[in-house]
Symmetry: C2
Subunit: 321 residues, 2 copies
């Protein structure tokens, strides 16, 4: 069928304008369901709900950034499964006082993130509302899904990229200030680590999770799902400059601050013992993403965080807190 | 991995209690992604967003009914594709003033609809919010996806079930009254027509669409997607008693009232010319669902609605109106 062969109606005029804006990034939109292209591997699905005033504020971000961030947050779950992107569907509640251009800007951001991750916009749903709500469904495909549940004693723990910048932005805004460019970019424009997740899967990752709730919040899930203990040496944490500065303002060690920071959307991976600095170097040359050894997997349960030779208790990000 | 092997945290305590409530209806929940079971056929995906005060009011429905209805609305898109249910994911924004029991009731309704449709709850996302928002992602599988785009001149147009009861309930509530039991049940507890959609697909359906926006709103989409004209004889419309009564209150012919009524979630199918009363009888014996011939497909474009020998202009339901 023709993508734009929708009947009359104001809602469908909106959809037609979104499809025109997305161009070839949109594919197969307009039927009751999106039909997934066939191919090898296992299909995986995830969903991530972003609500205005809970996950973001309009003063902080442009609507294009809000759309990008909502899509990137969902795509991060595909990265953590070692999956490539098939596509996404976006459900959007549009505030009654917003303009047509607002919705198009939001969807342009969603489309740009889908394109960055190598996928298409396959469909969605539009409705009215009081506040912006964006729920993004992502569909991926992988030869081997890497769950949270496969870590084995003896594995090394590795983290992609650098941590703490998104939290630095959040803290600056919450204080009424303006974040640094580095911090703002990390919060507004996180890069879904699809290629990094694929490379770690191919390198034999036993388990992965994305750090959407921070290392302090997410490492315990990997430990619980795998039935193992994690020992994480925070002295090795890869920090951003903005995290170091923000931690000083907050009166915390920078490593502590960064380990609490969600929404950097980096990956934590349990790699087999044979994966070392040489393999990490190959990974970085292939993906352009840093990879840092931060701990080990042991028999037992729970997560032990160490900083300067002492145990540190971390509580992760809690949306309900 | 173990479904309930999540780390600590209030959000995850909630998820654990939901999983306990859902029992075997929940499957594979707790990883970054839901892993779809492999099997024959094409996978299809759809999503449906329900927002408090836009799609429902708390005074009208129990939370279990709100959950059922949100899931059934999404599952209806699978029915219209001729797909069987694999499962669903539910994203929920939970108002800060709601109780743990409220969320469990909502998810019990979602789970009951998934079970009714033959699928599992595969995952989701929870967050805080001001109002209830439920976005349901449904995943189905079919040997042959039936799109909106395959209707051919000469096909007959058939509709499942009976129309207008959900609109009768809505009108009663909007007048400050109480709907009849029939009308209330149609609105609160719509039955996803999965088995009916499967039977129509196997009987050779050329095109299908679900009537979530009413016959007046949705028939034009089928015409546009197929590049054909539809001629629909509203005199033949299968009506419910509550629609007849509500139409009398509204001063409209009952057929007109019912054709404007969205949210009955019945199916409109374009069936090949050889599909007649005998085949419709077999369909009803197999599925327990009525099937009524309401029109024909012709060369051309647009939809011509006829009532008592005269053309009737219908504008469909518009969420933005």
């Amino acid at each position: 069928m023709n993508d734009t062969a929708l009947g009359p109606g104001r809602e469908f005029d909106r959809i037609r304008r979104i499809l025109a804006k997305l161009g070839p990034t949109a594919a197969g939109v307009g039927d009751d369901c999106a039909i997934l292209p066939s191919g090898l591997g296992t299909l995986v699905v995830s969903v991530d709900l972003s609500v205005e005033e809970v996950h973001f504020r309009r003063e902080w971000l442009s609507l294009e950034e809000i759309g990008w961030r909502a899509a990137a947050a969902a795509l991060s779950d595909l990265a953590a499964e070692g999956a490539e992107t098939v596509g996404l569907l976006a459900s959007v509640a549009v505030p009654r006082n917003s303009s047509e251009e607002d919705l198009l800007a939001l969807m342009a951001g969603v489309g740009a993130a889908a394109r960055e991750a190598g996928g298409h916009v396959l469909g969605g749903d539009l409705t009215a509302g009081d506040r912006w709500v964006i729920d993004v469904v992502v569909i991926g495909r992988t030869e081997r899904p890497v769950t949270r549940g496969g870590a084995l004693p003896g594995d090394g723990l590795w983290v992609t990229g650098h941590l703490g910048a998104a939290r630095a932005a959040l803290k600056a805004w919450q204080r009424g200030g303006a974040p640094s460019t580095e911090a703002r970019t990390a919060f507004a424009h996180p890069l879904p680590r699809i290629r990094a997740g694929r490379a770690l899967m191919r390198a034999g990752a036993h388990a992965m999770i994305d750090l959407s709730d921070g290392l302090g919040g997410d490492a315990p899930h990997l430990a619980a799902a795998s039935g193992v203990a994690l020992e994480i040496d925070l002295d090795n944490l890869p920090l951003t400059a903005s995290a170091v500065n923000a931690a000083a303002n907050a009166g915390l060690p920078a490593e502590h601050f960064a380990a609490l920071g969600g929404e950097d959307y980096e990956l934590l991976a349990a790699m087999p013992a044979g994966f070392g600095p040489v393999q990490a170097g190959e990974f970085t040359r292939e993906t352009g993403v840093a990879l840092t050894h931060i701990g080990i997997v042991q028999e037992g349960d729970g997560v032990r965080f160490r900083l300067e030779g002492r145990d540190l208790s971390l509580s992760g990000y809690d949306h309900f807190a």
